[in-house]
């Protein structure tokens, strides 16, 4: 009788335990360490090899707010990486709900690093059509985007003068919760031989392994864990470059600490992650014990 009950637990009990498993570690952090994975390191290296003040990295914000918990920390970490190394960035969005996020991220990080819009980075904004836009840019970026996000004609933007198509872009990073990296590979990669890396949600990361092996992708950042790894790499880089030290000197203690918290937000969530996983595994075990015990009794 009890086993029967266990087999058909009210789903809401599971819901409650999951909620608690996430809330408690956020209130009382444990501080478990993370390990670095190769595809993240590869992405980091690909960005790192772009020469400063030269041709820009193209960052495509192809996700919507729903994917922000995983992809937004990645976006910030990549932008920080570029700006601390003085790599220029060309930001755009192919997702209908992406432009607001792109604007939020670029202005915030640019301000933090004192970068100038139009010279150190350009924000092209959103253009509907996915694959169509990617192809169009292979011909001519100035034709695909007549103006930037702020309605300034592309021709008038200083940084855009030397940038015409993928020949002038050393690396594209597509951040997406859907299949948009596939479109980048299919159109920009196969057709124009563009080097591409992707940042994706943990769910789709497994789908992109075949493309890493065939070199259609040079790197891959997967989920919150990937973001926390990239975050860690950037934090270490900033320490090496002395960016961190400079920041500590120029900011008040409170401001500096606040920035530090925001610079390791992805890592903070990893504790809740672990506990929630264990709760789910515990449920699977309970479910199976009940199942086998019941089956035995029936015999």
């Amino acid at each position: 009788m009890n086993l029967e009950k266990l087999m058909r637990i009210d789903r809401r009990l599971i819901f409650l335990l999951i909620a608690l498993a996430v809330i408690f570690p956020l209130l009382f952090p444990i501080g478990l360490p993370t390990h670095l994975s190769k595809p993240v390191q590869d992405t980091f290296n690909a960005v790192d090899s772009i020469p400063p003040d030269g041709p820009p990295l193209m960052l495509s914000i192809d996700y919507d707010p729903a994917a922000m918990p995983e992809l937004y920390p990645m976006t910030l970490a990549i932008l920080r990486h570029c700006f601390s190394r003085n790599i220029r960035v060309l930001v755009l969005s192919l997702h209908r709900a992406g432009p607001g996020i792109g604007e939020m991220a670029t202005t915030r990080i640019a301000k933090e690093y004192g970068k100038k819009e139009g010279e150190d980075y350009v924000y092209l904004g959103f253009k509907p059509g996915f694959g169509a836009v990617i192809l169009r840019m292979g011909e001519d970026i100035h034709g695909a985007f007549l103006t930037d996000y702020y309605n300034r004609p592309i021709g008038e933007i200083p940084m855009m003068r030397e940038i015409h198509n993928y020949d002038d872009i050393p690396l594209v990073i597509c951040l997406s919760a859907a299949a948009i990296p596939e479109l980048w590979m299919m159109y920009a990669g196969s057709r124009y031989h563009q080097t591409i890396a992707a940042g994706v949600t943990a769910v789709s990361a497994a789908d992109y392994y075949p493309f890493l092996q065939t070199d259609q992708l040079v790197g891959l950042i997967g989920g919150l864990k990937g973001a926390s790894e990239y975050e860690k790499l950037v934090n270490e880089l900033e320490e090496r470059l002395g960016v961190d030290k400079k920041r500590k000197e120029s900011l008040s203690k409170e401001e500096y600490e606040k920035l530090q918290v925001s610079h390791s937000k992805a890592s903070a969530g990893m504790d809740s992650q672990s506990i929630a996983h264990l709760v789910i595994i515990a449920f699977i075990v309970i479910g199976n014990v009940a199942y086998f015990a019941q089956r035995r009794r029936k015999r």
């Binding site: 789903r11 919507d64 729903a66 209908r96 709900a97 011909e139 919760a177 859907a178 299949a179 196969s190 057709r191 031989h193 949600t201 769910v203 789709s204 497994a206 789908d207």
Partner: protein, 260 residues
């Protein structure tokens, strides 16, 4: 761009397309001549009749989600072909069919498909255009609304066929909690595990594309299925050759498959 009239680095793609098309057309032609063609059992599709019948018995509607992608996504087109068969059965049984859409172009196409199916099933009178409507282009706005439909209308049967993203499990779990029979099918690899765990039947990848041939048993569609299988054999042979040559350090063969 260039002045040339053919891009040579795409020759292999052209050959692939031509060979495949030729095979398909050959088998379609064979089928047209009346050759008997066999199709193996596809569990999810065996259940379609039962699922529609159940909804009829219970006097509850059927919910059909044609995926969340655009009309230019081939998965959506495949789903519409299945919708046509489901709608025909539903019309014959006089069972209400609800088709909420998230893509504004898919919506009018769904209307056309269902209308034609009702006509085809001899029941143009049961077509209800107001049950096939656009909700919002927002992914989760759409999901919120469909969840609402599931718990309020309590459909007896849910179909999730086409392209899906993360919302797959929200839809499937909510549907499971209302006790509906659920038949899913998608070519979205990342969503298959969730449909498999939360739905009663799941069409895996290519099965979605085979479904319309299976349901309609139209010789033309069955012929193309046969062509697909022959191509698989050819692919298997080519891959095996490539593997053997690569094992002996000869990569030239594999390199023929590099596309430009």
């Amino acid at each position: 761009m260039g002045q040339e009239w053919f891009s040579l680095d795409r020759l292999n793609v052209l050959i692939g397309v031509v060979v495949y098309t030729a095979l398909l057309l050959y088998f379609i032609y064979q089928a047209k001549k009346g050759k008997e063609l066999f199709v193996r059992k596809i569990a999810g599709l065996e259940a379609v009749d039962e699922a529609i019948g159940r909804a009829t018995e219970m006097g509850k509607p059927i919910l059909y989600i044609p995926g969340l992608s655009t009309i230019s996504d081939v998965a959506t087109l495949a789903s519409l072909n299945i919708l046509s068969k489901v709608a025909k059965k539903a019309a014959q049984y006089e069972t209400r069919l609800i088709v909420p859409c998230t893509d504004p172009i898919v919506m009018p196409v769904c209307q056309e498909v269902v209308k034609a199916a009702c006509l085809d099933g001899g029941r143009p009178d049961v077509y209800r255009e107001e049950d096939i409507y656009y909700i919002t282009y927002s992914q989760f706005g759409y999901v919120a609304a469909v969840d609402g439909i599931m718990v309020r209308e309590k459909p007896a049967t849910n179909f999730f066929l086409g392209m899906f993203w993360a919302e797959s499990l929200i839809l499937a779990e909510t549907g499971a909690s209302t006790g509906a029979i659920q038949i899913a099918g998608t070519d979205a690899i990342s969503q298959l595990p969730f449909f498999i765990t939360a739905c009663d039947y799941t069409l895996i990848g290519e099965e979605l594309y085979a479904a319309s041939a299976y349901l309609s048993r139209e010789p033309l569609s069955l012929g193309s299925l046969k062509g697909q299988d022959w191509t698989k054999l050819i692919i298997g042979g080519l891959v095996l050759t490539g593997v053997i040559l690569s094992t002996f350090g000869l990569r030239f063969f594999a390199n023929y498959f590099t596309t430009g």
